[in-house]
C-alpha cells in the first residue's frame, strides 16, 4: 500500500511497536535477571533494570558452570552445540542435495519408490520415532558421542524435497546443453547445479543451523556424560537441581548466551537467506 496518511503511519507503528514489545519483553527480563545477584529474581519484586552482577555471573558460567547442577562450563556446552548444529547442517545439505540430484537426474529402478520413502519420513518427526531411534543408537554404542548426537538428525526429507523442487524448475535444456558440452553427471553437478543452488543452500543452512542448535529432546536422551551436554539441554539440567533453588541469575546468563549464535547466524546470512527464499536465479 502506497498511501500517505500520517495517522495511519502512526497506527501501524503503534501496532508494530506493541508486537515487538510483546516479543522482546521476556528476553529483556531474562537479560535483567542475568545481571542481578543470586536470589534477587525470586525475592518477590521483580527488578526491571539491569543490576550490577553482569561480569560476575557471566564470568562464573564461563569459568566453572553451575557446579551444584553438575553442568560443565558454558564454553564446552556452547562448543558441543556448535559442533552438533554445524554437523547437522552440513550433513543434511550434503545428503539431501545428492539424493535430490539422484532422484531428478537419473532413471534407476525403484526411483519413485525411493522418492516416496524419503517423502513419507516427512510425516515422522524425530519425536514420533524417538524410541526406535534411541534403541538403534544405543545398540550401535553411540550414546554419549557426537555421532549419536548428530547422525539420527541428519537424514532430511524436507531438504531433499526442497532441492528436488528447485531442480525441477531448472530447464531441461540446461542439462542438455551441458551434455553437449561434454559434462558428465558429476561435472554437471559440480559446475552447474551446485553454483545454481547457492542461495538455496544458504537459506537452508540458516534454518538447519538453528534447528540443530535448539535440539533439546534428543540430546537430553542420548547424553548422560556432561562432556557431551549441549547448551539448550544443559539449561534444563541447570534448573533441575536437588535440595536448592535454581540459581536463576546464572541460568538466565546461560539463556542469553544460548541465544547469541543463532542471532549472529541470522544477521550475517540475512541477505542471502531472503534471496534464497524469494528468488531463484535462472
Amino acid at each position: 500500500m502506497i498511501e500517505n496518511r500520517p495517522w495511519l503511519n502512526a497506527l501501524t507503528h503503534l501496532v508494530l511497536i506493541a508486537g515487538v514489545a510483546i516479543v522482546v519483553l521476556p528476553v529483556y527480563l531474562a537479560f535483567v535477571a542475568s545481571t542481578h545477584p543470586d536470589g534477587a529474581f525470586v525475592s518477590g519484586v521483580m527488578p526491571l533494570l539491569p543490576g550490577t552482577e553482569f561480569a560476575a555471573n557471566y564470568g562464573e558460567m564461563f569459568r566453572s558452570g553451575m557446579a551444584n547442577a553438575g553442568t560443565p562450563p558454558l564454553t564446552l556446552m556452547l562448543g558441543n552445540a556448535l559442533v552438533m548444529a554445524v554437523v547437522i547442517t552440513v550433513g543434511k545439505i550434503a545428503i539431501s542435495i545428492t539424493s535430490a540430484f539422484a532422484i531428478i537426474y537419473f532413471r534407476f529402478p525403484g526411483r519413485v519408490v525411493f522418492f516416496w520413502m524419503i517423502f513419507i519420513t516427512l510425516m515422522l518427526p524425530v519425536e514420533v520415532r524417538i524410541l526406535p531411534t534411541f534403541k538403534v543408537v544405543a545398540d550401535l554404542g553411540l550414546l554419549n558421542s557426537y555421532a549419536g548426537l548428530t547422525l539420527p538428525l541428519i537424514a532430511s526429507a524436507t531438504a531433499t524435497f526442497l532441492f528436488r523442487q528447485f531442480f525441477m524448475t531448472l530447464p531441461d535444456e540446461l542439462t542438455e546443453a551441458a551434455r553437449v558440452d561434454g559434462a558428465g553427471p558429476l561435472r554437471f553437478f559440480r559446475d552447474i547445479l551446485l553454483p545454481l543452488s547457492r542461495t538455496n543452500i544458504a537459506a537452508l543452512s540458516v534454518i538447519l543451523f538453528i534447528y540443530g542448535w535448539v535440539q533439546y529432546l534428543w540430546p537430553l536422551l542420548v547424553t548422560t556424560d556432561p562432556r557431551y551436554y549441549t547448551i539448550v539441554m544443559g539449561i534444563k539440567r541447570m534448573v533441575a537441581v536437588s535440595d536448592a533453588d535454581p540459581q536463576w541469575n546464572l541460568v538466565m546468563a546461560a539463556v542469553m548466551l544460548a541465544m547469541l549464535p543463532p542471532v549472529v547466524v541470522v544477521v550475517v546470512m540475512q541477505r542471502l537467506f531472503v534471496k534464497g527464499l524469494v528468488e531463484t536465479e535462472k
Binding site: 535444456e173 542438455e176 546443453a177 551434455r179 553437449v180 558440452d181 561434454g182 559446475d191 536465479e281
Partner: protein
C-alpha cells in the same frame, strides 16, 4: 564439415506412440538444411536424435560416415543452439563459451584464441565478462551461437533459435546466420515452424508432417511445385488458396478438360489470380472464372491482400501490387489461369499432373 546420413530412422515412445515414422534424408557437406513443419510434426525430435539427446528406436544416423546411434552427444562432434538458449546463468559470457572446450581439455591458449575469435565474429566482445541475465535477448542469442562456434564442430544443430526474438531482430539474425554458415562452411541443420525463415535460409528445405517427410528440395521448387496438399497449404504466406473441386462441380461450374478427373482440391497461389472489375481482358485464357464480392482489403505497404468471397469456392485471397483501390462489397471476377493451377487427388492429397 561433414555429411549426415539418416536412414530409416524411427522413434517410438514407450507406450507405442510413434513420432518419427521412417525418415530417410541425406545432408551434404556444408549444406544448410531446414526442417520445417507444424508443431508436433517431429522436426525437433529428429534434430534431437541427430544431437543424441533422444534415443533412436530404429534406423541409423551417420555423421561424416560414422554411425553415431550409440554415441553420447559430446562424442558426436556437434554443437547445438537451443530455443531458450540454455546459457549457464551463473557463468559469465566467457565462461559459457569456454565451458565445452574446458571439458574437452583444450589448452588454455587455444581456448582464449577461439573465444576471442568467436566473440569478434559475433560482435560480443564487450559483454564477455557479463552474466547472461545482463544481456538482451539478441545478445543472449549471439552468445548461444558463440558457444556453438567455439567448439568448431562438424555439424551445427539449431532448434528454433530465433523464435524468442522480435520480428525485426529475427530478420536481422536470419541474415547473420546465413552469412556465418557460409563463412564457416559448417553443415547446419535448422529447425523452425516459420516457413518464411525456412524459405529464406535453406539450401535444402524439408517439410515434415506427422513424423514423416512430405517433400524435400530447394525452397523455390517446393513453393512452385508442391507435391502434396499439405506442402501447398503450408508454404507461403498467405498460403495457397485451396478450392474444393466437388463443390465447384456441384454448383454447376464447368471445369476445364485439362483438370484430371480424380481432382479433389484445386489450389492456386494468391499472386497467380487475375482480378477484373468487369469483363475478361482480351487474349487471356483462364481455366476458371469465378464471380466474387470483395469482403476485405488488407494493405501491407508494398502490396494489398484482397479477400474475395465466392459463392462456391469460399473466401479466396489475392495478392495485388501496391495500393489496391477497391472497397468492400465491390463485385469482381477472379480469373484463374490454367497453367497456375495445382490439382490434388481426392483421397491421396498428392499432386496430379494437368493433362
Amino acid at each position: 564439415m561433414a555429411t549426415i546420413d539418416i536412414a530409416g530412422v524411427r522413434k517410438t515412445y514407450p507406450g507405442g506412440v510413434e513420432v518419427i515414422r521412417g525418415i530417410d534424408l541425406a545432408i551434404g557437406e556444408g549444406e544448410l538444411v531446414v526442417l520445417v513443419g507444424p508443431s508436433g510434426c517431429g522436426k525437433s525430435t529428429l534434430l534431437r536424435m541427430i544431437a543424441g539427446l533422444e534415443r533412436i528406436s530404429a534406423g541409423t544416423i551417420a555423421i561424416g560416415g560414422r554411425v553415431v546411434n550409440d554415441l553420447e552427444p559430446a562424442d558426436r562432434d556437434i554443437a547445438m543452439v537451443f530455443q531458450n538458449y540454455a546459457l549457464y546463468p551463473h557463468m559469465t559470457v566467457r565462461g559459457n563459451l569456454e565451458y565445452g572446450l574446458k571439458n574437452r581439455g583444450t589448452p588454455r591458449a587455444e581456448i582464449d584464441a577461439r573465444v576471442q575469435e568467436a566473440a569478434r565474429i559475433l560482435e560480443i566482445d564487450p559483454f564477455l565478462d557479463r552474466k547472461p541475465r545482463q544481456l538482451s535477448g539478441g545478445q543472449r542469442q549471439r552468445v548461444a551461437m558463440g558457444r556453438a562456434i567455439v567448439r568448431k564442430p562438424k555439424v551445427f544443430l539449431f532448434d528454433e533459435p530465433l523464435s524468442n526474438l522480435d520480428a525485426k531482430l529475427r530478420a536481422h539474425m536470419r541474415v547473420e546466420i546465413r552469412r556465418l554458415q557460409r563463412a564457416l562452411g559448417t553443415t547446419l541443420v535448422y529447425v523452425t515452424h516459420d516457413q518464411l525463415e525456412a524459405m529464406t535460409l535453406a539450401d535444402k528445405l524439408v517439410v515434415m508432417n506427422g513424423g514423416a517427410i512430405e517433400q524435400q528440395g530447394a525452397p523455390l521448387d517446393l513453393y512452385a511445385d508442391p507435391q502434396t496438399l499439405f506442402v501447398a497449404g503450408f508454404m507461403g504466406s498467405p498460403g495457397m488458396n485451396l478450392i474444393d473441386a466437388d463443390r465447384l462441380r456441384a454448383a454447376g461450374t464447368v471445369l476445364p478438360d485439362a483438370i484430371p478427373a480424380g481432382t479433389g482440391v484445386i489450389g492456386i497461389r494468391p499472386e497467380d489470380i487475375r482480378l477484373e472489375h468487369g469483363q475478361l481482358e482480351q487474349g487471356v485464357d483462364p481455366a476458371l472464372s469465378l464471380p466474387a464480392r470483395v469482403e476485405a482489403v488488407e494493405i501491407v505497404g508494398a502490396e494489398s491482400l484482397v479477400y474475395a468471397a465466392t459463392g462456391t469456392a469460399g473466401v479466396i485471397v489475392l495478392r495485388q501490387p501496391g495500393f489496391w483501390p477497391g472497397r468492400a462489397d465491390t463485385p469482381v471476377t477472379l480469373h484463374l489461369p490454367l497453367a497456375r493451377l495445382h490439382c490434388f487427388g481426392k483421397e491421396s492429397g498428392r499432386k496430379l499432373r494437368l493433362s
